[in-house]
Structure formats: C-alpha cells, structure tokens
C-alpha cells in the first residue's frame, strides 16, 4: 500500500555536525501519503536530531530535503509548517498556562480587524478547536480548559490535534507514547491510524516495539548516526528490529 502512493517527504544525504561531534551522517529517509514510517534506534543514534532537521529547527550541515518532489531549505519551524510538515515533540511543546484552543492555534491565531488593529478572535478559536477535536474524536471537557489540567494522554492528544489543525501532510511524532499511562497509549495509536486514513504521512520515533508494530507500515533503524537497516513491516520481526537497535543484523 505504501510505495505506490505519492512520495511526500524525502531527505537525502542528511549530515549534521555539532562542533566535532557527528550526530548524523549521510542519512536518507522517505515517507509516502497515508504511510506510517517507524524510526528506531538507541539513545544517541540521531533520531531526535534527524527530526529536528526535518522540522527546520536545525539546519543540516550537508544534504537536502525534498517535499512533494521539490527541494526546500528550511530556516525555521515556520517554513516547515508552511509546507504542511508538523512536529509533535517529545516534551509535547505545549504551554500549560494556556487553554487547549490557544495551544492548538499558538503562533497562527485567527484574528479579526477592528479598524487598523488586529485582535484575537476567541470565538473562532473556540469553534475551530471544538470542530477539530470532534473530528479526531478527542474528548475533553471544553476547549477552554488549561493544558496543565489535562492528563498525559489528553495532552498528547492535544499536541497531535495541534499538529493536524492546519491540513498537515506529514506529521512527525517523537516518542508519542513515552510518557503515557498504558490505557492512554491505545487512544493515541488510534489517533495515528485515523491520521493515516486521511492520507497524512506519519513518522513515528519510538522505543516501543508495540507502537511500531501497531501503526507503522515500514520501519527504519538508525545506528550511530547512519542508516542501518530498513524494511516493510510485514517482512521483519520484533526480534530483528530490536537487533538493529543494538547494531546487529
């Protein structure tokens, strides 16, 4: 189901140095429409660095990013957002002191003009938030609830809702279930499947084999900053993928 779909995002030969440390070396990555790519690797394998390069937070030292076949240079997360590439960070990147709706639209708030002044359109934020949460079947008391009052799973759901509020084509998730209670993991994985069915390309970074084998179509392993192995999910096994993480083929 994957290779026939349209290619959305491709990274070619991504290399990233931090001073004398080589975090990534010549890494390639592809993700198609409606496909979920799992990225695995040990701590320090370069997963998070790769994702930060893809989201425009880091500039690669070498290599290029192609989005829908065209090369793009990303200077900031704003650039990647404009392309339809969204990131769900491990630390959730939500402001706990703000309500759900304002978090979802943070940095892209709808405004209305009164004279030459622009004011936040709270009514629109509320309506759009409710409609969007409804669409993703995310249950919260109200869009006005502050994020710090939510459970870990609800926060993750809000973070995912935030990433998809602007017709994202590719969503990158860094350890989406790491901080969650077991009963909440299933809900988040359901949410990922829902995104896939709407044609969104999803990249999931995870340590948890259960996650990878529940939602992903393809899995790739990074080892010491390089592409180590890659396979369709139905052609590999948990034991093999765990071996890749530890650098064994």
């Amino acid at each position: 189901m994957t290779s026939t779909n349209k290619l959305l995002l491709e990274a070619k030969g991504i290399t990233k140095y931090f001073g004398t440390i080589t975090a990534l070396e010549n890494v390639n990555l592809k993700v198609h429409e409606g496909e979920c790519l799992g990225v695995v690797g040990d701590n320090g394998a370069g997963k998070s660095t790769l994702m930060k390069v893809l989201s425009g937070l880091y500039k690669p030292s070498a290599g290029a990013l192609f989005f829908e076949g065209k090369e793009h240079v990303l200077d900031s997360p704003k650039d990647s957002q404009n392309l339809g590439l969204e990131m769900v960070y491990q630390d959730l990147a939500l402001a706990g002191n703000l309500p759900i709706g304002e978090n979802i639209f943070l940095g892209r708030e709808p405004t209305k003009n009164i004279g030459f002044l622009k004011f936040l359109d709270f009514k629109k934020i509320q309506e759009m938030t409710s409609a969007h949460l409804e669409k993703l079947k995310i249950n919260v008391k109200s869009a006005d609830q502050k994020v710090e009052e939510l459970s870990g799973g609800q926060r993750q759901a809000v973070a995912i809702a935030r990433s998809t509020a602007f017709n994202a084509k590719v969503v990158i998730m860094d350890e989406p279930t790491a901080a969650l209670a077991i009963k909440e993991v299933g809900k988040v994985l359901d949410l990922i499947n829902k995104l896939k069915s709407t044609g969104v390309g999803v990249i999931v970074i995870s340590h948890r084999m259960d996650d990878i084998f529940t939602v992903c179509d393809r899995v790739m392993a990074l080892f010491q900053g390089t592409n180590f192995a890659e396979s369709q999910l139905d052609k590999t096994s948990r034991d093999e993928v765990i071996g890749w993480i530890m650098g064994k083929k």
């Binding site: 959730l92 892209r108 009052e149």
Partner: protein
Amino acid sequence: MEDKEKKQDSLYVKLIPYFEKYGILLLLVIMILVMHILQPDVFLSWRNVTNVFKQISWQSMLALGVFMVIVTAGIDLSVGSIMMLSLMILAIVAKAGAPWFIVVLVPLFAGFLCGLINGLGITLLRMPHPFIMTLGTLYIFRGTGNLISGGTPISGFTDEVRYLGHGRIDLTWLGLEKSQYLPVSLVLIAVVYFVFWVFLNHSRTGKWIYAIGGNPSAARASGINVNKILIIVYSLCGFLSGIGALILAGRTDSGYPNAGLQSELDAIAACIIGGASFFGGRGTVLGVFAGVMIMGILRNGLNLMDVSSFWQQVLIGSIIVLAVYVDVLRRDFGTRK
C-alpha cells in the same frame, strides 16, 4: 455520603478559577474596609483617595512594565534607574529651553531606548539570565544619569510638562466642590492599564508573551520569534518607566539623583502580591493594579495612623510572603502533577 463529598469537591474546584482571578481584589476590598473602619473620617475622603492615586501613579507604571517581563519568566531590575535616567534627560532638555512637546516626548523615547538595550543584551549577548543584564544596567543607567546631571537636582518645569503628574481635572461642572478634582495621573493610569490589558489579552503578541512564559520551547516550536518578543517586552517596560519619569517630573517639579531608588523592588513586590508568578506565564493586569493599590493603601493607611515606616517595611514584606504562599497552595489544588 460519597455523592455529597463529590458535590462539595466539584463546587470547590469550580470556585478555584474565580478565586484565582478575583481573590486579590477581595483582599483589596477587605483592606479598604479595614482602613475605613480604623480611619472613618479621613481614609475615604476625596482628598485622601486622590492622594493615594497620585502617590502610586509612577510606581504603577514601573510595576506594569516589570509585570510583562515577569510574565515571560524574566526580571527587570533596572526600571528605577531607567526612570531616573529618563527624568534627568528630561530635566536637562527642559533646562536647555526645548519646547514642551519635545520635553514630554524625550523621557518616553529615552526609556524605550534603555529597555531596548536590556532586550538586545539579553537576546543578542545571550546573557544567562535577565537578572544579570538588568543588574548591570541598574548601575549603568543610574551612573549615566548622575554623569549627565553632575549628580545634582535640576528643578523647575513648565506647566505643560508637569500636566500628567500634577494636572487637575476640574469637576465643578458636576456640582462638586473645587477641592474635589480628578488628578490627571489617575486618568493616565486608567488609560495605560486599559491599553496594556487589551494588548496582553487580545493581541497575538500579548498571547505569545504568555506562551513564552508558559513554555519557551513550545513558543519557539510554534514558529514564534521568541527573541523578537522579548526585545519588544523589555522595550515596552523601559517605555513605561519613561512614562513614570514624566509623571514624577510633574509631581516633584524636579529631576533628582535619588529618583526611583529601590523602586524596582517595589514594582516586583506589587507584581508578586498581585498574583504574577516568577516562573512566568501567570498573572493579570488587574492583579498588578491591585498589587500596586494594596501597597499604596498600606503605606497611606499606616501613615494616617502614624505607624512608623519601619513597620510598613515589615508589613509589606509579610504580605509578599503570604501572597506567594497562597499562590503555592492554589497550585497544589489547581493543577495536576
């Protein structure tokens, strides 16, 4: 039995947000009532109430500026010095015979520039904490103010320059007596606080200021230019200190070396009493106003009762600790851990 407990619990939970929003106003009202009972003839008299507002007028500007900075989880220790430097520049420009509209604009511009220097230092020089940058400029700005004035007071401004700090709006057309006037500085406080309330709560930049205080990495990941917002915040804080200088010039008719000495601490105290959190992202403009009022009324009331100013210090310090402890309790109940 259990149901009943649940109901009580939910009522309690429902009340928390209101307490969070308006609790400080409740404290203010209680203070006013207590002072009124203790000093029934004087405290709520027209003369004394306008006096309180005149006394807090310039502090309220500093507090509002520092408040915005605190919302971003920063701190500005230099507001007192910015005000002093702006005041000295105003005095020198006035003495040089510049027309009044220039004299009035000069402190605002000077304050803005001082704030801009703070903002640029914190972001471009990547100071590890705003405390350090603004501690540095606390000395730099006051030193500069003394250098340009020779460390001596410069007095005597025209009525136009003094209007904001000293002006009176006559209310005799309402059938009130001549002594029952409205201080211009009170109107100025109301206007400035309203404008900044709108700015912080209804503009994108204002929302981003709160977001930066809540989680700076979230703000950055949302594509918000955090450094730019911080520079705006510190510049506005300086600008408000400049307004403070203009008010003080009107009130005292003089630029003097000790102007605003230690007033940065009063400004911070007013924010903390008003419910702003040092960790950023929390607090309201209304709360800051209440904080400024509480400090002003406490000082005024204790003066009326002839209590020594040493006791005032002890009381204000105690209120700070108490206010923050209430905030700690509120956090325990209000948020998940």
